[in-house]
Symmetry: C2
Subunit: 369 residues, 2 copies
């Protein structure tokens, strides 16, 4: 499914062939948690350059629900989005969002954060829900250890995730799916290299369409995450896509691309946008030496700052998004100061365009002779 077009060091440029189209990698997936990228229409997201978006099994299981999603004919049909979709399995959201959750070998019992109802999410139910969603890429259901866990807990979660990976691989083909789905395993093990190695080997032995690195970007030191990823990518099959889950800052994405990661998702561009922080280029992205893993190619612009009050210049002179073409720092600051939704929309458009161009620049760097 991954057609590697070119490699340069460990970095690679490729095409991911999925049921709803081809995704150019390395890629960044905007997050449509509940079936919409906040403030944007599906057409808006496509026009920013995204080939694929990510949605969440946990949220869609709560609303609209499993039977409802089946009746709706899947998420592509509901949203009117005809490009690929990847769905998270729900493991992380159960862990992070629901107040009461209890993990057993069978699965996780949790209380809905919406209405308090009790739900038992198992690997099989996650597969059934993702089949109903009809996502192009299905993530295995995993046991997620908290970021500050003891080694024993990481080991337990990693081993259970392996067993659940097998159950997912068995269950998915039995589901009546709306689309030809690919299944990814998730490497766990915290910042322990030996646990990560066991996890990777176990998953490869089971055999998946792609491999994700989970359980990072959860508060660990950046050097630990860098160490884990740089020792891990070589253990994952070269002909399968590698997906770093839930990260990260632009310079982290650049580093991970250099380590051979193909896919990314992160709440940062959209969440920061809604809080008034923009990623702004400090120079034209086509002029940057990406292989040196620079960290100074952007800065954070706090649009609510007093300094922007009368600044009638564009948000980012190196950006080509609708917000940068049509508005000013002064207007965007005004919109945030009076709580106008348009402010969040402009900032979201800008930040997602920033990440899409970041990925385009990585692909260009790898493809160039």
């Amino acid at each position: 499914m991954l057609n590697v077009l070119k490699t340069k060091g460990r970095a690679r440029c490729g095409q991911l062939h999925l049921a709803h189209g081809i995704v150019e990698t390395p890629c960044f997936m905007p997050i449509a948690t509940k079936g919409a990228v906040k403030t944007l229409s599906p057409n808006d997201v496509a026009s920013l350059g995204a080939d694929i978006l990510l949605s969440n099994t946990y949220h869609l299981l709560l609303r609209p629900g499993l039977e409802e999603m089946k009746k709706l004919g899947g998420l592509h049909n509901l949203m009117g989005w005809d490009k690929p979709i990847l769905t998270d399995s729900g493991g992380y959201q159960v862990f992070s969002l629901s107040k009461i959750n209890k993990t057993t070998e069978e699965g996780v019992t949790f209380q809905s954060h919406i209405d308090g109802s009790k739900i038992n999410l198992t690997p099989e139910l996650s597969m059934e829900m993702q089949a109903a969603i009809g996502s192009d890429v299905v993530m295995q259901f995993d046991d997620v250890a908290a970021g500050d866990s003891l080694r024993e807990r990481y080991k337990e979660a990693m081993e259970r995730s392996l067993r659940w990976a097998e159950r997912c691989k068995k269950a998915l083909p039995l589901m009546e799916s709306l689309t030809k789905q690919k299944l990814f395993g998730i490497v766990q093990g915290g910042t322990h290299e030996d646990l990560r190695a066991i996890s990777a080997e176990g998953l490869v032995e089971i055999g998946f369409d792609g491999y994700a690195i989970g359980g990072l970007s959860v508060g660990e030191k950046r050097e630990d995450a860098y160490r884990i990823v740089s020792t891990l990518t070589e253990k994952l099959p070269a002909n399968k896509p590698r997906y770093f889950m839930g990260g990260g800052m632009p310079e982290e994405v650049v580093y991970y691309v250099q380590q051979g990661v193909d896919m990314f998702d992160c709440v940062l561009p959209t969440r920061n946008a809604r809080h008034g922080t923009l990623f702004v280029w400090t120079q034209d992205p086509s002029t940057i030496d990406w292989e040196s893993c620079p960290t100074d190619f952007y800065k954070g612009l706090r649009i609510t700052g007093e300094v922007n009050k009368f600044d009638q210049t564009t948000l980012d002179p190196f950006c080509d998004c609708e917000a940068c073409k049509t508005t000013t720092k002064a207007y965007l600051r005004h919109l945030f100061s009076v709580n106008e939704i348009l402010g969040m929309r402009f900032a979201t458009i800008h930040n997602l365009r920033f990440y899409q161009r970041l990925m385009q620049a990585q692909r260009d760097t790898i493809m160039v002779q």
Copy 2:
């Protein structure tokens, strides 16, 4: 400034020549209370067919403020909107939004609903603020009586509004304005025909560029509002624009157009949209006999209703807006049920397009042989 192209009965079709362009009348002005139509960019608003938008002196006086607006070079410059703008004078908002307000002959002292600071809004300050905004059409500052007032209070407010109208007419030319501004007087007097007549005569004697009918759509019976408007329009100069403030439902707009009203603004399309109620055509607007003042040409669609849960048809088969072209009732209902901002945006786009096409249909009806 109003070039009447054609009349049919009392209804008329014309062109309003303003500093930032020509407005086709009868027209509907979307409301950009704080300098943005909620969820929409200035380009979005223009693409829906609006020639002119309305903003509020009261809100802009609080944020960004008078001196700030001067420094920003006016609202056109701040927003990046190059078509006409009309600004409300602040009288109505002081009355409806601020908890503590005290009216004297000098003006209204009120507490900001943002930070509680005390502001003394006078006819002169309203003119200064509107000059700073640089709106194409400036509304006089008026004294607004509550909808359930006694006749004596309506009389007092109407007479004071006349005196304030004179002060506005004197003050505006003394202000350093950013644009060549037109000043409109506002007819007051509640549902009392004799008070309305005195108000209209008084304003015409002072002489304004246009005349607004204020103090209706505030809870009075519809038949009372219809009676007042139908007896009032003939008392207003035929060569000057007539503006019905703050109304109304689509069938009311149709009726008032037949009575010779040229301009409208209303929160209904945008506010209802944000609460999930859409105006939906029951037939193609070009096939409707508008001169008969029909009331059954649209219906309200409560998108959050259970009945829409699996309805994958378009919102309104007679509409050409982005929402109707790209989404379904089921998706819009889902967006509202999970509180996604995109739902409010789609609904706002639809409702504003409905009102713009309503006005287009009125103009077409008047212009046709």
